[in-house]
């Protein structure tokens, strides 16, 4: 059994259902990519994994989140809370606002060790410095005593990652960890995270809208569209032979070296609004291959080779 197995996860906020029927699984030493446009439900899924849906007035309406054999949706919320920081950690999107501005960054990392490892002040600080070194933060000792506003975005994000690792978690959920950073820094952070996974045997759920990051870092990927899974499978397979038109289009959006100007193709149309999510295939309005079936029913997630696709007319298969 994988460390984390999610089945049929459906999330509701008020009278809306932004996420429906999501399956995913990730094991130690693996990187699972969760990719989709803004509004596709990726961040909500991350919050669900962390048990933080109540913060945004959301709740798990159905489905299961099984971590290390225990279904967290079936237990009191306090259990999930006790896992947070200690066995499941979060890396958030915007380092500029994720850190407490009136405490030193060092204290914020120390706090995790003291909370979950029972260390005293000195040992916690030593541990934090070691972590900061691992994060390739230069002059860790000096940085430890600094405040967030005195550090760059890339540096702050390394601090956030250090904070996530301080509890020695088994699973890290990273919600768009590089989106708010400079392009040059993005690659560094991604590489850092991948190295951590290999070195420590972590499980990493990497949420992003950038297929380039997925190609670079992930072992398997889940493609979300408008709250539902469009396609999921191993990265090599998905990239070599995408079956869902959306996945195909997403891959086509990655700029390549030597690409001629004016040839970057976007996806025509817009994501449907949460307010009127149709019951049928949500990608149909933007799909070149859409037929009458597509606008009357929702496609089920079927296996094609090593991947699973939710599409009535998947590419690369006999229609």
């Amino acid at each position: 059994m994988a460390l984390l197995e999610v089945e049929g996860l459906t999330i509701g906020i008020g009278r809306f259902t932004p996420v429906e029927g999501v399956d995913l699984a990730v094991d130690r030493g693996e990187v699972l990519g969760l990719v989709g446009e803004s509004g596709s439900g990726k961040s909500l899924t991350a919050m669900a994994l962390m048990g933080l849906l109540p913060l945004i007035r959301g709740e798990v309406r159905s489905g299961s989140i099984v971590f290390d054999g225990v279904d967290l949706t079936d237990r009191p919320p306090d259990l999930h809370r006790r896992l947070r920081g200690r066995r499941i950690a979060l890396v958030t999107q915007n380092p500029m606002t994720s850190l407490d501005p009136i405490r030193t960054v060092g204290a914020q990392i120390d706090e995790v060790s003291r909370l979950h490892r029972g260390l005293d002040a000195r040992s916690a600080r030593a541990r934090s410095l070691a972590l900061m070194d691992e994060m390739r933060i230069p002059r860790a000792s000096a940085v430890h005593g600094q405040y967030p506003h005195q550090l760059s975005g890339g540096m702050k994000q390394r601090i956030v990652i250090a904070m996530a690792l301080a509890g020695d978690p088994d699973l890290v959920v990273a919600d768009e960890p590089t989106t708010a950073l400079d392009v040059t820094v993005q690659a560094q952070i991604v590489r850092l995270m991948v190295d951590l996974v290999r070195d420590r045997g972590l499980a990493l759920v990497l949420i992003t809208h950038d297929m380039g990051v997925v190609a670079q870092a992930c072992d398997r990927v889940v493609v979300l569209y408008a709250g539902r899974i469009a396609e999921t499978g191993p990265v090599e397979t998905i990239f070599a032979a995408p079956h869902h038109p959306y996945t195909r289009a997403l891959i086509g959006c990655i700029p390549t070296e030597g690409q001629r100007r004016g040839t970057l193709i976007g996806i025509p149309g817009q994501v449907p609004s949460l307010v009127d999510y149709p019951d049928h295939c949500r990608f149909a309005p933007r799909c070149a291959a859409a037929s009458a079936t597509c606008t009357s029913a929702a496609p089920a997630l079927d296996a094609i080779g090593a991947s699973r696709v939710a599409c009535f007319h998947p590419l690369g298969r006999d229609a």
Binding site: M50, L52, L55, R81, R82, L83, R84, G85, R86, A89, L90, T92, N94, T97, S98, L99, D100, P101, I102, E111, V112, L115, H116, Y147, H149, Q150, V160, M163, A164, G167
Partner: protein, 308 residues
Amino acid sequence: MFGYFVRRLVMLLPVFLAMSAIVFLIVHFVPGDPIDHMLQIGSSAERRAELAAKYGLDRPIVVQYLLWLKAALGGDLGEAIVLKQPVLDLILANLPYSLALGLSALAFSTVVGVTVGSIAAYFAGSWFDRSVMAGILMGSMLPSFWLGLLLILVFAVQLGLFPVSGARTWDALVLPVLTIGIGGVALIARVTRAAFVEVAQQDFVTLLHAKGMTRGRIFFRHLVRHALMPVVTILGLKVGWILGGAVTVEFVFARPGLGSLLITSLGQRDYPVVQGCLLMLGMGVMLGTLLGDLAQAAMDPRVRDRMS
């Protein structure tokens, strides 16, 4: 920190000069000869000449102001017309009472206000939150001296629990502090609650939850420091308000203090005392503002760096 302190002091200097200049000019704006406003009617010609020379009344107004200021800063605030004592003595005799009242009111407002505000914020939206905040709000809109009188009527006259007036015993502080305090509690509770509600929505709070802390710990170990910052700011800004409230309340409760002294002297046209009191109160306001700024800088590292 020290650099910040010095910078703030320098910025306050022009305000101090302007405030003291206006206080100084009072005797010059009042119709009549300034000397008449400093002396009892029928004082000897020598006395008049003495004062005229001391305050340089034949010299340019700026020089007069500087002479007056120099004397004042050295402790010489002139002599009271009615009581015939050095003004400084009168002020020093009354100052402890005003300080006791002001500081107690400050402490009361802050402690009760922050407590009420944080609990209201923790239970934001509940009936407790709404009724408490509404009640406090109503209380703050009432004129403070009326509130004081009502408290005297109920607790001192009818129930006999506290002294009606004066400052002879410790419990004489209770009703006056309560009178000033209600307005203060209302303000601080509102600011505290709003600060909590606002900070609870910030991104870093998500990470705090992600670290696995309980809501209570997040609120009362982490967010409190954030919520206190606007409180400190507001306290610094409203020190003047507390002083003003103290002035009123001293009069209502017939307590000795700078406020009573000021009001009585105004009625008696005892200008040296009026000027002395106004100068002290003005300086008190400025000192309070400065302390508020320093406290804020101590709590928020961003403020310290901002002013360079």
